[in-house]
Symmetry: C2
DNA sequence: TTCTTATACCTAAGAAAATTATGTATGTTT
DNA sequence: AAACATACATAATTTTCTTAGGTATAAGAA
């Protein structure tokens, strides 16, 4: 099993984190929230967003409900019961990884 | 210009950070050092490592010297003068990105 | 009222960057 | 002698992203 999630494949875990905090969101809303939370650094494209959500749904980690607001449909995502467990695992792994990475990036200042 | 380096394309910047700290290293050594510095989390495969180094060399960011140790050759990499400038730019960007990501991962605890 | 922008979903083609597999060769340890 | 670590490299494949294209409703500006 690979441990190099983050510089490849971190997007799904980021989405899971947001959903685990917010409870229930739709795709468009998720991408806006991600951008907010990272001070504009994370700009999730639609071509990445929707396939990733579909994959997580297919894995049984997310489930959906379609709601009509006015004349427009929104597809709401939330974690399944099984998904809550898997999500917290993945989020913890990512946290640890990011912490180690940050340690590396801020260490080694004694050179110049 | 894309801002989503990290969950894709962070490897080269990580290598630049290590080289900027250590000054001069060869490929195999770089991969071992990266693993050390991240408590084993970052396991760079050879198929990722060498093409990435070759690309950075082709970009003029790294330069090489081959040394013979016993009967075995080592290819040492270091930053070029131009490379030092570009490396520090990329490292700063990555730092900021990782900081924002960490903020997101550790925020939103007020849910349960 | 028409144009632009924002909202809201989606897929397909292509590129980028990784993994996996394979190859060569030397040195060390069991 | 066999296994493992060092040390380089490339090719085939897969994953995951960007870019581009498509549909449609709603709101605001010109």
């Amino acid at each position: 099993m690979s441990k190099n999630h983050l510089y490849k494949g971190g997007l799904s875990t980021i989405l899971l984190k947001i959903l685990s905090d917010e409870g229930r969101m739709y795709g468009y809303q998720l991408s806006k929230r991600a951008k907010e939370l990272t001070n504009g650094d994370l700009d999730i494209t639609e071509g990445a967003l929707y396939p990733t959500l579909h994959k997580l749904e297919a894995e049984g980690i997310l489930e959906t409900e379609i709601e009509k607001v006015g004349n427009r449909k929104r597809k709401y995502y939330k974690l399944t019961e099984e998904g809550q467990y898997k999500a917290s695992e993945r989020i913890d792994e990512l946290k640890e990884y990011v912490m180690n990475l940050q340690g590396m990036l801020n260490g080694g200042m004694s050179h110049g």
